[in-house]
């Protein structure tokens, strides 16, 4: 009896049909994003940023008189799954647009889906150059994230001002790590010919024990290090590197790509943070010389997340949604082709000032905040001080 009930329940679930479309149709935006596993660390706040924007725009009556509906799906930081959920969003939920993905594998994979289905896709976080490379570019893909080239070069610009000669690198051995490291190495050699790359370590993505790599690197006696060990991995890395005297040996001349100076990274690490290293972040709630819109945005985000030190990742999806909605307004339509055209060369007033999606490569001139980390009596965790917004416009090509 009990078995039959369960069986019937399963069958009933199977027979559920896709929810029917109602009369006053909202504009549907599909949002594939890692919401489980280690990458949910970024995917979760990224979702919140988009949700905040949608809440705000809907409160103002939406766009073209229609509300926006965000449909988030867990892409598990996995290209295969990202493709599956994106197609499901397009085919089953009939989404009008796609915003999302996080990793350098997910972005290009979903881009192909967008191209085949002629759906505008704005990538807020994937950095791989491949996504908007000339042979991969198509009318429907746009990006508001920095690229590996922009990030690597921004860091090279900073390191060029340091009084160092022997530089080492440590990065994960996969597309993002390789690309951002290459961009850094090529640019620094160009702008500061005297430097020497003395060591390059390539731990595997998600390495649990960095000690062997740290030992090997210290043996080469570098005086500065470029790292792209990102996010939560940097926490593990520095926990293991600190007692080995790694940071002292290089006099804290480490600069990290991959948002290691973001408020959530320094907050999570608290007292363990190797204060004095350099890093970057997409956003910082404590940004003093920010454009005026930033303070307002931070206050709203803070309220939305119920967090005094809100995440730096939400801004990326917030901006992506801003670009989308501005383009819809400009096009006066939700037709993908019209919106795609409207996005070309579109300038939007974001919380970080005016940003433009270039017509030639569909890439926004999105910079990041860079700075040296320091303690500040106002906060129980390290912040970037001083901190500058590095505008990549000069070296995007």
């Amino acid at each position: 009896m009990q078995r039959r009930t369960v069986l019937i329940a399963i069958l009933a679930l199977l027979l559920l049909v896709p929810p029917a479309a109602d009369a006053q149709k909202p504009i549907k935006v599909g949002f594939p994003m890692p919401l489980s596993g280690p990458a949910a660390l970024y995917g979760d706040p990224a979702l919140k940023g988009a949700q905040l924007f949608v809440e705000e725009i809907n409160a103002k009556g939406g766009v073209l008189g229609r509300k926006i509906e965000l449909l988030a799906r867990d892409s598990k930081a996995n290209a295969d799954e990202a493709v599956r959920v994106s197609r499901e969003l397009i085919l089953k939920e009939n989404v009008d647009f796609l915003v999302g993905t996080l990793t350098s594998a997910e972005g290009p994979a979903v881009s192909v889906v967008a191209k085949e289905n002629k759906v505008v896709f704005i990538a807020p976080i994937p950095k791989t150059d491949q996504l908007t490379a000339p042979d991969k570019l198509h009318p429907y893909i746009f990006r508001v994230a920095a690229t590996t080239t922009m990030e690597g070069r921004s860091i090279a610009e900073i390191v060029a001002k340091w009084n160092v000669k022997r530089i080492a690198t440590i990065s994960f051995d996969y597309a993002y790590g390789q690309d951002v490291t290459r961009a850094f190495v090529e640019h620094i050699k160009r702008i500061k010919p005297g430097v020497e790359i003395v060591d390059q370590q390539w731990p595997k993505l998600g390495e649990a024990d960095y000690t062997p790599f740290i030992n090997a690197q210290m043996a080469k006696k570098p005086d500065a290090v470029f790292s792209s060990i990102w996010g939560g991995h940097f926490l593990t890395f520095s926990k293991q590197a600190k007692p080995l005297g790694y940071f002292d040996a290089i006099k804290y001349n480490l600069i990290g790509a991959g948002e290691i100076a973001s408020p959530e990274a320094t907050k999570a690490m608290g007292a363990e943070y190797p204060v004095g290293v350099w890093g970057n972040s997409y956003d910082a709630f404590y940004w003093q010389d920010a454009p005026p819109a930033h303070r307002d945005y931070t206050a709203r985000l803070s309220k939305f997340l119920k967090d005094d030190a809100p995440s730096s990742w939400s801004i990326q999806t917030y901006m992506a949604m801003q670009f989308l909605v501005e383009a819809i307004k400009k096009a006066g339509s939700t037709d993908s082709d019209k919106v795609a055209k409207a996005l070309l060369g579109l300038t939007v007033d974001t919380p970080h000032g005016k940003l433009t999606i270039r017509a030639k490569d569909h890439q926004a001139n999105r910079g990041q905040l860079y700075g040296q980390t320091a303690r500040d009596p106002k906060y129980p965790f390290a912040i970037m001080k001083p901190m500058t917004y590095v505008d990549p416009t000069k070296f995007m090509d």
């Binding site: 979760d44 000690t211 062997p212 043996a219 593990t236 926990k239 007692p243 999570a268 007292a271």
Partner: protein, 295 residues
């Protein structure tokens, strides 16, 4: 040729990694030895151990001994959780095919990972090293963190205690007997049910302890459950499933292969451990110190 100090440093880091792995893998091996099932959820217990440690440290605040209480509290809570799962769920599957038991433990992995997500969110959490063990000292040209030294000493201590438990106590002897012949033990009037629950509790305790002790050197994040379980599987399989010293040997080999693998094949650390497992299994089908399974 790298200098000796460097080689010493590498081998030491391999040894530390081995001790962490041993803590987790020994529990896995124990449960397999007695119950005959690979417990996928062992990695989840390890992860919950790390999260629980973080939680208790938060509750205790700035108390200097907070980490130690937290580690103990976490290991005990996970032991209780393991015991409850065995007593109320797993027990009913002993008669079923091994495949179903595996599936059950896999289902637990899914449920517990989402439970951790609900309880602690998706952010990265950090536990500080206990006061007194934060620094490092220099030996033969290599920095050795005090905490690593502690783990290096704790590993063998637990191994020894465990071995004494298995060989010198009645329960230990029963556990070893159960690994050889369960039916016989039941026929001799031993309360096999209680023994099994006990084994599950001890195994889960070790997983929880492993998670608690790794917390100060690793970010506590979602996904650490599946990351460790694959490593722990490799260790117990290399050593020989159910073999106590085999697990120790497997962990030691694993640690050294990782530490020196990056010197010989710098960019192939992603292969090295799986290649190691394949080679060991091809040459020694029951692991280094294991014995053939009964059919």
């Amino acid at each position: 040729m790298p200098d000796l100090a460097f080689l010493f440093g590498q081998s030491l880091s391999g040894l530390t990694a081995a001790m962490f792995l041993f803590l987790v893998a020994s529990g896995l091996s124990l449960i397999f030895g007695v119950l005959g099932v690979l417990n996928f959820a062992h990695g989840s217990f390890y992860m919950l151990g790390a999260y629980t440690t973080y939680q208790i440290v938060q509750w205790l605040g700035r108390d200097p001994g907070s980490f130690w209480w937290a580690a103990l509290g976490a290991a005990v809570s996970i032991a209780i959780l393991g015991g409850l799962i065995e007593r109320f769920l797993f027990r009913h599957l002993y008669g079923a095919d091994v495949l179903y038991q595996l599936l059950f433990t896999y289902a637990l992995v899914l449920i517990l990972s989402d439970a951790a997500k609900v309880l602690w969110g998706t952010g990265q959490l950090s536990v500080s090293r206990p006061p007194g063990l934060t620094g490092a000292f220099k030996l033969w040209g290599t920095f050795i963190p005090y905490y690593n030294l502690f783990v290096l000493l704790l590993g063998p201590t637990i191994a020894l205690l465990f071995w004494l438990l298995l060989t010198r106590t009645r329960n230990g002897r029963l556990i070893r007997a159960a690994a050889l012949d369960r039916e016989m033990l039941g026929a001799l009037g031993v309360n096999v049910d209680r023994l099994y629950t006990g084994v599950f509790v001890v195994g889960s305790f070790l997983a929880g302890l492993g998670g608690a002790l790794i917390a100060p050197v690793k970010a506590v994040v979602p996904g650490m459950d599946v990351e460790i379980i694959v490593e722990a599987f490799i260790v117990v399989v290399i050593g020989g499933l159910g073999s106590f010293w085999g697990t120790m040997l497997g962990a030691l080999v694993y640690g050294q292969v990782l530490a020196f693998g990056i010197l010989i094949f710098p960019r192939f650390s992603i292969f090295s451990v799986f290649a190691l497992m394949a080679v060991v299994l091809i040459l020694r089908p029951w692991g280094l110190l294991g014995r053939p399974l009964k059919s």
